[in-house]
Symmetry: C3
Subunit: 340 residues, 3 copies
């Protein structure tokens, strides 16, 4: 099922340097590519890898291609072109329609004819599973939850009752969508649970990482926009709203009722406290903590950088006296003024 370099270039709106007749059958890194593999260079620092590659063709920018004697396909954005080409050369395995004999499907659930329901999956009453959906082994879809066209749910993932997923989403294994939000009222020294009555509404083309958790809303819904990409082990609390095409890296925590704009990028292990508004096009660097709303696009950070521990401890110890240090500075400044 290969693609000729000429045909691939046409589909990618690129042009060919070199032998346009080569047939490509797969993708690989420059180092590992064989004569029928497509490779790419997006970052100029990896251009040296071109010297020894025997790749069938390489996706390159115009300027990079000028330095390469092998076959290349010149495109504006080699990484984006590679993403598309790799999907054509390695399409997801075809779905075998049908409900596995060991799946437990409630008679009042609706399963589209082309859907694939894996072994041991459990689907509760009123659930609605659209065409071309794939539910992995052991996953659970709660009552009255809707799964849109061609969405794939990984093994042992759990989507509880009353939630809704759009089309073409990917939910990775172990993810939990729709568990109760963390809502309690303090009643003397004990906590009284506030029933969590909202749902989770997820748009189209959303990806949700392995063991990530997205809680249901307290009264209104938790809402994830179209095209949002969420990595593994991310916590999205109740009533959070995330705008279209925002990407969230691993181990991020977003506290309750925070609203995040479109096209944001949140680095790994970053945290956002509750009840904030984050504008569109905001980037948060890895490990940062956002404690106040952000009104303007831009990059925000509170990341520190590990250094040798003896050096760090001396500096950090001073940090814990910084207010005193500034007072000493102020005193010197005042003395200096008097004496001048």
């Amino acid at each position: 099922m290969g693609i000729r370099v000429a045909d691939l270039a046409r589909r990618l709106d690129g042009h060919v340097h070199g032998d346009a007749s080569v047939e490509l059958t797969g993708v690989a890194t420059l180092e590992r590519a064989g004569h029928h593999d497509l490779s790419f260079v997006a970052n100029p620092k990896y251009l040296s890898g071109l010297r020894n590659t025997v790749a069938g063709a390489v996706l390159l920018t115009e300027s990079a291609a000028a330095q390469y004697s092998g076959t290349s396909i010149v495109v504006r954005d080699p990484h984006a072109a590679f993403a598309r080409a790799a999907t054509w050369l390695h399409p997801p395995a075809p779905v075998e329609a049908g409900v596995h004999a060991t799946a437990v499907v409630h008679p009042a659930a609706r399963i589209a004819r082309s859907a694939h329901i894996g072994p041991r999956a459990v689907i509760d009453a009123g659930a609605d599973i659209a065409e071309d959906v794939v539910l992995g082994a052991g996953c659970h879809v709660g009552a009255h939850t809707r799964i849109g066209h061609a969405t794939r749910v990984g093994a042992n993932a759990v989507i509880t009752h009353g939630c809704s997923l759009g089309c073409r989403c990917v939910v990775h294994p172990g993810a939990v969508i729709g568990a109760d939000g963390f809502g309690y009222a303090r009643d003397a020294e004990r906590w009284t649970k506030v029933p969590q009555l909202g749902g989770v509404v997820i748009g189209d083309d959303v990806e949700i990482g392995a063991n990530t958790t997205i809680d249901r809303g307290a009264l209104n819904d938790t809402v994830i926009g179209n095209g949002v990409k969420i990595d593994n082990l991310v916590q999205v609390a109740h009533n959070v709203r995330i705008g279209d095409n925002t990407a969230i890296a691993g181990c991020v925590g977003i506290a309750g009722s925070t609203v995040i704009g479109q096209r944001c990028a949140i680095g790994g292990q970053a945290g956002v406290v509750g009840h904030l508004n984050i504008a569109d096009d905001v980037t948060i660097t890895a490990g940062s903590l956002v404690t106040a709303s952000i009104e303007r696009p831009g990059v925000y950070s509170s990341s520190l950088k590990a250094e040798p521990v003896e050096k760090w401890r001396r500096n950090a110890a001073r940090l814990h006296h910084l207010d005193d240090i500034v007072r000493r500075l102020k005193l010197l400044e005042e003395n200096s003024k008097k004496s001048s």
Copy 2:
């Protein structure tokens, strides 16, 4: 199954302003509430929402009620009152007693007659499941583990062997209770596993979030007190002890053998290193790292705050030279003394 405003006020020890005869059938936010919904305002900054609401009744403090012309129920603590009222208006779905045909129950396990064992649940030898317990689809209860009265365990959660859960607990989907603690002895350059022989003992009215992990003890048990509330993706290491009514937000990590007091509140993504003692009534702010025992109640923090990245980088770069900076300050101070 509604409740009249007058009756609700009586059950909540409150009094009514307005029409006490309205029948309430559900709860909602001020914006979405209909004529038969109960709503509430706990935070004065949301009082403006009263202007346009058509809620059947609103739970308010005395002073807020004075400003509202609609029907209100005046209570001391509107949020706590709402938590209780919402549970009465939206009680958890009734439990259907019985063991699903696809559950795998060891003949030497004891299942109380009123318990609900979901599809594909697996219950090992010697497990003891009390009355009114609900075990969700695909969850696993290990050998000789006891689950107390009316506790609910979510889909695909795992509770390993030799653990004990109290009454009325909620364990959310994907949580893992009783995996081995992270215990090794260094033997030259390799690690030798230390068998983890303790269990996990969990009190009554405890809630454990989705995909949270609580490890079994090495020799003694890991212990979670009564009324403790733990959010999603929290790691509780071996031999940790958590006091009654402490609340722990998402993504927190608590290292081995640390003892946490009663009524503590630990903010999201905070960390507590091992072998510490944290007093009762301690609050840790989000993202903070606790590296030493805390002997007194109070709020503790090492949280930073994200700011625009260019500004942050200039400041953070200085932090990495803070010790030198203070030495320069000291030199100036000495010079200043000499010259004065």
Copy 3:
């Protein structure tokens, strides 16, 4: 199935002080040990516990044993000796060979005769399960994945297609190995998924904690070396490589393509950004963020320490003006030079 003190000392290359004929049947802490339990003291600060213990024998260093009148076994490293002795006294439960009737095994999977396949486990086509492997209830092994000799996989863990685990590994419940890496190309304002075509290759004697996630590589594999120990809720991104005998504590995140050396120790909640190289024998303290490659062994840190919040807020507020503060200092220094 006890062991006499004399025999235990011989197996541990130690010698006995006191009664070498005592039969030991278990292990316990000093406080809880009975007359037939083995205990140990590794940390001198716990030596006071020797006063009241009735343990059958205690593993001690030579100097500690000199202070103890009860029976002790003197060894060079009491903790390492205890780890081994505890495994002898509490061996893992014997494995019952065979495939549970409710497991779903593809006819084209190969299951060794002595392997134990638990209830509801699902094993896909081409999977290869070696002798003495234990697969827990509800776990999933994807197509063409190989599980090496005597490896144990916990309940509801997921290992997707095309991965490989070595011998004697332990995978704890809920772990997900081989989910797609977080790889997208930006295409205007949307994200295009980059197919994740690599696998995960895991060495021998590796332990992987509960609900931990290890993503498959994009083109090449994600690689975990021999003897690596990974705690709960850790995220290992695509194409990461971790060297032999490295230990990673809970809640750590390691971003894509980072290479970590041998015998490293990464503290809880630490983060390592992508595309870095970390040398052998590097220790990262809890909560630190590594943002640049580390070329030399040693301890690295950016950990802060929580302190009372009013004090912390005053200091942290100054940090956000540190660059200005240093400018003020510089000005004073210049004035001081001029005036001297």
